[in-house]
Symmetry: C2
DNA sequence: AAGCTGCATTTTGCATTCAGTTTGGGGTAG
DNA sequence: CTACCCCAAACTGAATGCAAAATGCAGCTT
């Protein structure tokens, strides 16, 4: 019986737990969700688990087929293309709005995160770098002061988190380029140039997409991943 | 006992039924959701109803407070601002992509819908006009050939559907202006001018937002609605 | 008379139970 | 040997039951 964070109601905690399991690959894409097994692993009954699965299905993290159980949603290249297209759109708009609305405090906090991230870059501490990287992107979205935009972003970004976990290493050249992009992003945010920031973020996302898609391709057994359609 | 569309599984049908009830105001914003009452009205048990409520809560259509039941989410002016900001973003990007990807068939279908809508406009048939109007917007999104973008749009647009129902009448001048905007939108789509279409759609959405917010304001008892922040 | 306390009722959250469907296997006919 | 069919076991979907928490109200205190 595997313990899990018990903050509030059971189904809510389960939701978080299942999300983690999916993101970390414990529940592999395409896999059937073993209802009964998970119930005894978590030490709960089927009711809250099924409630959580309904929510995950609404988020397209699992596919729910009537009378035939649930499957973990797969992430093929086309899915990733579509997801990143939407993520880029939301981040770009978030950047534009953030330039208009960001407070001095929020800007200072982002700058702080940026420099801490830079330190991790210099020390080649990839996990810490990734964490701050993602935190900066979320912070910009948050600075856009639009909770709907943020929750929309979280919903879509959550669907590629699994793929992010696969891309847990990075070519040094690309890493340096990404760091430079972040430099430009920060400078443009400070300059409050919304349109330019939007474009920079969209470009940055495209590059991120290529890395992740390459990583997913290798993870899927392709040793020489050079497929990346437009 | 109120009947409801019974197509597939019970909770899925319930979901659709509850959405309709919310959109048409049968379940008023801020209202507590009487679990037991709805169960006997639909003639079902609490389990599928609760599953449907969990999904609605994930979509932010209802607010779920632990041990204190569910409330229908309210839609204040700020919410509408935020929602329309995101809707405009998604529609604009959808328009840009549609210009790149739309097929001749899809374009012809949109043109057909447009002219039928124009006929309803000439005859001042508002409900039919609204239906086709919405269908055109969805068709453009669909032409963008990005299912993630579409489902994202549906999710956010679904949250303002209630407000749309309140705006069931329209000033003749504004109606004519909206019709002209649609003319321009169609022409720009035909011309495959993605960036321009994006801007037109965003502008069109801003106007729609103003109408709906004014209607909601009057519905909330404000006889002279002149609040519309940027 | 207003506010607080304690109890009864209602409601929520979860477990358990029941009914209907799918799935897998063994047997049989071709 | 292969294909089909039938049956049983497993699983899914929904209903019911039960414990805990919240709500409402009466009576009491100040």
């Amino acid at each position: 019986m595997i313990p899990f964070p018990k903050g509030g109601t059971l189904h809510a905690d389960l939701l978080a737990g299942l999300r983690n399991m999916i993101n970390q690959g414990e529940l592999a894409p395409g896999m059937r969700v073993p209802e009964r097994l998970l119930c005894e692993r978590f030490g709960i009954s089927r009711t809250p688990l099924r409630e959580a699965l309904k929510v995950l299905a609404a988020e397209d993290l699992v596919e729910l087929r009537p009378n035939r159980g649930a499957r973990i949603a797969t992430l093929d290249n086309q899915n990733l293309q579509h997801l990143f297209e939407v993520i880029a759109t939301l981040e770009a708009e978030g950047g534009r709005l953030a330039c208009k609305r960001i407070t001095a405090d929020a800007l200072a906090e982002i700058q702080g995160m940026h420099y801490r991230m830079y330190a991790h870059f210099l020390r080649r501490e990839l996990p810490e770098y990734f964490t701050l990287n993602q935190a900066i992107h979320v912070a910009i979205l948050r600075a856009a002061a639009n909770p709907v935009l943020l929750s929309c972003y979280n919903g879509v970004a959550g669907r590629v988190t699994r793929a992010r976990y696969m891309a847990n290493r990075m070519h040094p050249d690309r890493w340096e380029a990404a760091m430079k992009e972040h430099e430009a992003i920060l400078a443009t945010l400070v300059a409050r140039d919304g349109d330019r920031l939007g474009h920079l973020l969209a470009q940055h996302l495209e590059n991120k997409r290529d890395i992740i898609m390459a990583a997913v391709a290798t993870a899927n057994g392709d040793p020489d991943p050079e497929q990346q359609a437009s």
